[in-house]
């Protein structure tokens, strides 16, 4: 089937694409390409455009306009729908972020096509695309397909193999003219979170999680210390969030964030189903819990049955030694 696979760019709002775009572009190329980037922004940097090329985009459709920031679905949707109707891409892919999930859903409705949200696998079956999605708290995998193109999907971060950046690979930039409707939503303010200095939960390659076994909010500092040493984000279980120990934005699980890091380290986390729903696609799972019967040990690759308050400082010290050596 003719047509390109479009990859909607998620950026840092300052002109640089996020590194998750290497995963989306890599997957689009693996599905047969051509992998083309589509970037809606008020400010695209030359370095950012070069980066998309280096990751293998064969073309960048740049929709650059002050009216595209802040992101509002009511403005983005007609803009990209107009371009899609003209260019007939075979697929439109985007990484899972809070805004892309909303935008892609609205775009699917406007184009009258299907959307496979939070996909963890994509594969061609003849000339149709099959997406794999975790459902029912991740207990079951659902395979879905589309009645017609463009096939819209959002991709869970850290699951798809990223394209390797090749310096010197460049993509031509097209600046199509599209109609932007006036926005009815007005931004009042943006409240930035106080940065912990650690990576964002859904993007982090390593995530440390503290559960009820942390005993209180004051003890998370030992996890943050470890996070600083190994470059990990620090999250929490629902029990810890509901106890008021951590803000909700740090919650991992069914009613929190879904993560899929290379390495997950859970301390004092029991492993309730709703927590597993948010982290079971992690590649390597480590659990430390005093209770040898804790369900998290059933899915852990490595477990230590011990008091986390003895393990965490020792482990932080050991990580520090390892990383100083290498």
């Amino acid at each position: 089937m003719a047509g390109a696979l479009w990859c909607v760019v998620e950026d840092d709002r300052k002109g640089a694409p996020k590194k998750v775009m290497a995963e989306v572009l890599g997957e689009a190329a693996r599905l047969g390409g051509p992998a083309e980037a589509v970037w809606l922004t008020d400010t695209a940097s030359d370095a950012g455009l070069a980066q998309l090329g280096a990751w293998g985009a064969t073309k960048v459709w740049l929709l650059e306009n002050a009216a595209l920031a802040p992101y509002r679905a009511e403005v983005w949707t007609p803009a990209l729908a107009e371009l899609a109707q003209k260019e007939s891409p075979k697929a439109i892919l985007a990484p899972v972020t809070s805004r892309q999930r909303e935008f892609m859903a609205r775009l699917a409705a406007r184009l009258g096509v299907g959307l496979a949200a939070d996909s963890v696998g994509l594969a061609m079956d003849g000339d149709r695309l099959i997406a794999t999605r975790p459902v029912y708290a991740g207990k079951i995998l659902s395979k879905v397909t589309w009645a017609k193109p463009p096939w819209l999907a959002t991709l869970r971060p850290n699951v798809f193999r990223p394209a390797e950046a090749q310096a010197g690979r460049t993509a031509p930039v097209e600046r199509p003219a599209v109609t932007l409707p006036p926005a009815t939503m007005k931004l009042v303010e943006r409240r930035e979170e106080v940065s912990t200095g650690l990576p964002e939960l859904t993007e982090a390659e390593i995530v440390i999680s503290g559960g009820r076994g942390m005993k209180g909010p004051e003890n998370y500092v030992i996890l943050e210390e470890m996070g600083g040493v190994i470059g990990a984000a620090v999250g929490a279980s629902r029990a810890a969030v509901d106890a008021g120990w951590r803000p909700h934005r740090f919650q991992i699980g069914q009613t929190g964030r879904t993560i899929s890091p290379k390495l997950y380290l859970g301390f004092g986390v029991s492993g309730a189903i709703q927590h597993l729903a948010g982290m079971r696609t992690s590649k390597v799972i480590v659990a430390v819990n005093k209770d040898s019967e804790a369900p998290i040990f059933k899915i852990a690759d490595y477990g230590i049955v011990a008091d986390l308050f003895e393990v965490v400082p020792a482990l932080t010290a050991e990580f520090k030694k390892l990383l100083e050596k290498s």
Partner: protein, 260 residues
Amino acid sequence: MKIVVCVKQVPDTATQVKISGADPKAIDTAGITWIISPYDEYAVEEALRIKEKRGQGEVVAVSLGPDRVKEALRSSLAMGCDRAVHVNDPALAGADTLLTAKALAAVIKQEAPGLVLCGRQAIDDDMGAVTAQLAELLGWPCAAWIMEEAVDAEAKSVRVGRQVEGGLEVFDLPLPAVLSAQKGLNEPRYPTLKGIMGAKKKEIRDVKASDLGLAAEPPQLSITMLEALPPRPPGRIIQGEIKDAVKELVRALREDAKAI
């Protein structure tokens, strides 16, 4: 002000979910405990709070699904919703998010509310698409993952804080609008005994696709099959003194798993 809340009935998180032996595209619904999707409870709660704060208005719960969905609507009424609409039509059994949104949008057009509230996503299929699709079909602005909201005195606009990576974006939206509730928006109430008794007398109106003027159409996204999650390879409990166990863990993470 009239507010429509969209709710979905889903299996309880702790319920065992098995793939149906008869149909590899469906789950076996025998023995499942059904609940209102937790995010939808935040939406119901917020709608009730808006009504209570304004001292007037009406909250209408809407849901799509088979007969069992009445139970979820009855729970919404017990929490305090005034009445309910049940889109109950076997023709919509295989509905994807877009067909669901079309049916709900048709109900919303009939009801003509000032505000529509949904949950961020339903915890069965986790698609999280209906809110934005409703907004598109209705031609209204939308904001997803809201953590706070305030409707202005004239019910002309709503100020919402939506959660995004790295912070909160506060927007003013003209009404009518569609919002989706994120955890943290509120703490949903439990139905009181009086509420539960009162709910039995409240109206649940059944509607069919034809009542909504919906033409039969195939879904745009369909399930080809469901698969049980492949089991993870068995893990390893590292025994011994803590200092030795920690050393061995770090070695294994570096050399065997190559995870650090």
